[in-house]
Symmetry: C2
Subunit: 331 residues, 2 copies
Amino acid sequence: MDIMKCIDGQVKRIEAVMNKLVPESIEPEVLAKATRHLLEAGGKRLRPCLALIACDAVGGKAEDAMETAAALELLHTFTLIHDDIMDKDEFRRNVKTVHTIWGEPVAIIAGDALFAKVFEAVAANAKRLKLPADRVVKLFDTLSKASFEICQGQALDMLFEERKDIGENEYLKMVSGKTGALIEASTKVGALLGRGKPEQVKALAEYGRLIGIAFQIHDDVLGLVGEEKKFGKPIGSDIREGKRTLIIVRALETAPSSRKKIASVLGKRKASKAEIKAAIEMLKDTGAIDHATKKARELVARAKSRLDVLPDSKAKRFLLELADFTVEREF
Amino acid sequence: MDIMKCIDGQVKRIEAVMNKLVPESIEPEVLAKATRHLLEAGGKRLRPCLALIACDAVGGKAEDAMETAAALELLHTFTLIHDDIMDKDEFRRNVKTVHTIWGEPVAIIAGDALFAKVFEAVAANAKRLKLPADRVVKLFDTLSKASFEICQGQALDMLFEERKDIGENEYLKMVSGKTGALIEASTKVGALLGRGKPEQVKALAEYGRLIGIAFQIHDDVLGLVGEEKKFGKPIGSDIREGKRTLIIVRALETAPSSRKKIASVLGKRKASKAEIKAAIEMLKDTGAIDHATKKARELVARAKSRLDVLPDSKAKRFLLELADFTVEREF
C-alpha cells in the first residue's frame, strides 16, 4: 500500500492547501522560509490522510475535511520543529532541521507561527461547511486538548532521559501523549467534520489513539533495525541520544545481565558505529525488539476492532489496511 | 486609576479562571510549575480587562467573556516566555524568567502548552454562552490571526537588531504586530462575546490596535526614563540589548551628530551604568523621547475617537480612561 497515494490524489490537494495556508509571501521572508522548510521536505502526511478517510468513513466527503487535514500537518510540523530544538537534532526528513539552518530563535517563532495557523485553517473549514456551533466548539476543543497533551508527552520524554527506571506503563503514557493524542485528534476531527454520530466519533478517536501508539513503537523499532535511507534518520540515534523507547525500557527491565552494557552506551553522543551496532545486537538478543513488535501489533488489532461500529465502505477497509501499515511500514 | 481593580474584583475572577485553566495538578510537575510561574508573578492583566470591558461596552455582561479574557493572558504569557528565550532575558515581572530557572527546552514546551490552553478556554466560553456558529468561528479566527501576527512582529523585531537603518514606519509595523495585534484581538473578542454589532466590533478592534501600539511606545519610554522598581525591568536594558525602539529609531534618523555615539552603546551587553546613563541623556537631548511620547498620545487620541459609535456607558467611559492610562502609567 502506498500511503502517499492514500486517497487518489488527495495528498496533492492537502499539500496545495498547506501551501495556501503557509504561502511564500509571508513576511518577513525568513519566517516564510523557516515555516515552509519542513513542510516542503515531504513526509507521509499520515495525519491529514487519516482525517480525510475518517470523514469519508462516517458518510462525509473527504473534501469536507480538507483545511483541517492540512492543519493537522501544520500542527505536527510545529511539534517537530520545537522537538528538534530540544533534542538538538540536526536532520529530519533527510534535510537539516530548522534551528540548524536559521538558529533557535527563528525556529521557536516558526513553530509558534505554524501552531497559530492551525486554528485559522480550522476556522476556515468550519465556516465553509457551515457547521453547527456545538460541532465547531468540539473541533477546537479536540485540537487544543491534543496539543496540550503533546506538550505533556514531550515533557515526560525529556524527564525520562534523566531516569533509568522507566516502567512499560510510564513509557506508554508518554507515547500516548506525544504521538497518540494527535493521531486520535486526526481521526476524531475527520469524523466530526463528516458529521459522524457520537459513537462513530468515539470509535474513530479510540482507533486513532491506538494506532498512534503502535505507530510510535514501530518507529522506535525502525530506528534500530530499519534502513537508514528509507527511514530518513540515522539508525541507532535513539541510543546515542539516550531516548527511552519501549525497546530500551523493556531491555533494562527484563534483562538484568545486559543492563549494565546497554546503559553504558545509552546517551553516549560519541559512541562509535561498532558500539551502536553491538548495542542493537544485544537488544535483539534480549527479545526486547520482538516484544515491541508484538505490543504494536496487539494495539493495531484492538484499533481495528473499534471500527466494528462503522458500516462497510471503501474508507473503512482503507482504515483497516492503514492500521496494519502503521506496524509494517519501512519508513 | 488602578488598572488592577479595573472592574471591581474582576481581576481576581480572571486570575481564578486562569488558575483553573492551568492548575497545579498538571502532569508532569515541572510543566505545571513552568506554565504557572509567570502567571503567578502578577502583571497588569490589561488584555483580559480590555476584553471584559469591551464585552460590557457593547451591551454584554463582563462575565460573558471571562474564559476568553483569561485565555488572552495565557496567550500573552506564552509569547513572553518564548520572547525571553530569544532575547536571553533573565528577569521579567521582577522574577527570573522560565528558561533561566528550568532551561530552554522546558520553557519552549511551557509556552506551547499555554498556547494550546488558549483555544480550549475559548471553546469552553463559546459553549457556555451557546454562541452562534459564525461568531464562534470569528472568535477563533481572530485569535489565531493575532497569534500569527505576533510571530511576524517578533521576527521583524529580531531582524531589526541586525540593522541600523530602520525607518519609523517599519518600526510601527513591527510593533503593530508584536503588541497591537493581541490588544486588538482582546477588545475584538470581548465585543464578539458581548454580541456587539459589526460596526461596534470593528471600532473596538481599531481602538485596541491603536492603544496597543501606544502602549508599546510608552513601554519603550518607561524603559529609558521610568523607575526600575515600578517598571519591573532594568532601565536601559533595551539599549544593552540593541533593541530598535521608536526612540532609538528616531534618534538615529534625525540626529546625525549623535548617531555615532548612540550606535556605539547600542547592543553593548557589558555597557557600564555610566555609559547607559549618558546614552539616555543623549536620547533626551535629541528630542527622540519627546517625539515618542507625542506619537503615543496621538495614537491614543485616534483610539478614543473610534469609540464614538458606542452609546454612553460606564464601560465606554472606562475605555476612554484606559486609553489615557496606556500612555500615562509608570509601570
